[in-house]
Amino acid sequence: MPDADDPRAWIHGDESAKAMLARVLTERSFLLLPPLHRLPLRVGNVVEIAGPSPSAKSQVLLQAAVHCILPREWRGIRFGGLERMVIYFDLDCRFDVLRLSQILKHRIKEVLGSTNNFGHGVEEGSQEYDDKVASMYSFDDELLLACMRRFLYIRCYDSYEFIAALKTMHSRAQTESEALGVGIQFLLIDSIGAFYWIDRASQPSPYGNCMRKIMSFQNLMETIVQEMRKFLEVQPLLVLASKACIFFAGSSTTNVQRTVTTWTSEDRKQWRTSNKEIEKFLYREYMPSAWQAFVTHRIHLQVSDKCTCDKKNGTLPIYMSEWVQPPLNVKDQFAVGDGGIFMIT
């Protein structure tokens, strides 16, 4: 408490802007994880990752999950993770835990390989070497399990299960994070539009009273967003949601091509705009406005027809990413190897 005799003390700040920035940045650090590294993402943001299948959407989510559950430091070795919990909603029912553990193992091995002065003065094949290998593997396993415990997963087969899960998420997350002693940082959803066709078809019941709310896709989505907003108020999180493209660009392509051939060589500009048209159709928004207003950042992913080739990974398709909200006119290229996503420069 400032001294009552000295009024000037009342207007002295608690801390300087610099000190505050330093404090906030360490408490709520930015996520700069490729291919999401162009914009500083932090808790409270809702990022939509849109793209046609396959465009490595789930891989981006898994990469984020691995970054979050890895420890900052483990027995003196720096892993550079966040050491926080992740909640993963699997609405597509295609999550493969073996893929998650594969990326995790790769990351762990990578860090151990680069920091360990392994084999230094120890001859390969000797007893000492074998012991070291054995100890390293048990070390791996322990760390792997510790990381996997921070991964909280739920699978939902319809929107009602999803809403039910959102409603019980708070209590479950609390018990879980108290048991582990770490907070939750990420909420991952794969993928948000999974039940679009199913919910869209639900019709208002002709019987019963009209006071009942119609279970349309829009109403369900509003409820889902409301539940998530409520949760985010109590527990600030970074939300990453993938969204599949469900409209095929082909039908519009043929139309566009037809117009191009009738207008022919007059200007190539037409063609360029029509390419944009295709893209617009491909990423056509089908989510209700409630969700659109909830999203703060949006990135588009796409697979290109190019490939990258190296000795370690073999031939891999190249994916492209572009921020559309806020719009950045930069296209990044990345590929997905056994150890996860890596950028191509």
Binding site: R94, C147, R155, L316
Partner: protein, 324 residues
């Protein structure tokens, strides 16, 4: 003719398996070490979240939360998921060497694998081969849902007879009988019938979790696209609703009851005359694994490549031989 008769018989078996509680006639012993089948849903329920230091007045609240937990899908952590994958999700060999090597063993339980390819590229052959493989190794029962009369017990019998090297212990007849009796074939001619069968199957599986000896391990739908294509198209979204519902139901059955699902899909001409898998953009989000088959005219070597896989990078390819 005789084999046809057996296929009919296995249809009856299917009905018995779905409707009645009569124990399966041809009991087969599992070779895979089977821990007690653990339903992930029941695993969570066993763990009561009631803690010791709950006050009297909180007991009612705790009961409510336990009741709610029972109603909803379970929350699992990564360690529990790994355990489930280790104990309940095995790999079933397809019997086609090239595919097995490509997929790292074969078809994973809990996953939906889709085979796409133009006509006569070997899709049905792969289905029959996997059915034969699973039945031959006594892994469990195969349910073959046949939508376009592609199932041929004659072809399976031919395949059994051609692999004569393993016939040391048991006679040809006995082995054939054993294999045929664990393949159940059921004809399905429209999407409603398919959904009906799947719901019955789910119901049946829900009540026989304990018996692990002759449980269904592999569900084949050959071909799923011939059921879905007629209902797609137009402005009405009912067709897509049924397609996605079927897809989610297949994945649910695969996941909850640890069986592997194999479906086939045909190809249609896309832009520029190139072939692409049928069923469109929305269906792409359904299968875990997509494989493309292709075969040159007159050759008996099939090319298979990965369009999509949960672990393996897409684009890898292999070859395998099928006999005509």
């Amino acid at each position: 003719m005789e084999e046809r008769g057996r296929a009919e018989a296995s249809r009856e078996e299917l009905e018995r398996l779905i409707d009645g509680g009569t124990p399966y006639k041809f009991a087969v012993a599992s070779q895979v070490p089977m821990p007690p089948t653990r339903n992930p849903r029941s695993a969570i329920h066993a763990k009561s979240p009631i803690t010791e230091e709950v006050g009297e007045e909180d007991v009612g609240m705790e009961e409510v939360s336990v009741a709610i937990d029972r109603q909803q899908p379970p929350w699992l952590n990564g360690v529990e998921l790994l355990e489930d994958a280790k104990w309940n999700k095995h790999v079933l060999p397809t019997g086609c060497e090239g595919i097995d090597i490509l997929l790292g063993g074969g078809l994973r339980e809990g996953q939906l694998t889709e085979i796409v390819g133009p006509s006569s590229s070997g899709k049905t052959q792969v289905c029959l081969c996997s059915a034969l493989g699973v039945a031959d190794l006594n892994l469990g029962v195969v349910l073959f849902l046949d939508t376009c009369n592609s199932f041929s017990s004659h072809r399976i019998a031919h395949m059994v007879n051609s692999q004569s090297d393993t016939l040391v212990k048991e006679g040809k007849e006995g082995r054939l009988k054993r294999i045929m009796s664990s393949i159940l074939c059921h004809s399905v001619f429209d999407i409603f019938e398919l959904m009906d069968v799947l719901h019955q199957l789910e119901c049946k599986l829900k009540h026989q979790v304990k018996s692990s000896g002759n449980r269904i391990r592999l569900l084949i739908v050959d071909s799923i696209s011939s059921l879905i294509t007629p209902i797609l198209g137009g402005k009405n979204s009912q067709g897509r609703l049924m397609m996605i519902t079927t897809g989610i139901l297949l994945k649910k059955i695969a996941n909850e009851y640890n069986l592997s699902v194999l479906v086939t899909n045909h190809m249609v001409g896309g832009e520029g005359g190139s072939l692409k898998p049928a069923l469109g953009e929305s269906w792409k989000n359904i299968p875990h694994v997509r494989l493309v088959l292709s075969r040159d005219q007159g050759s008996n070597i099939c090319n298979v490549s990965i369009l999509k896989h949960t672990i393996i990078a897409s684009g890898r390819a292999a070859k395998f031989v099928i006999d005509n």
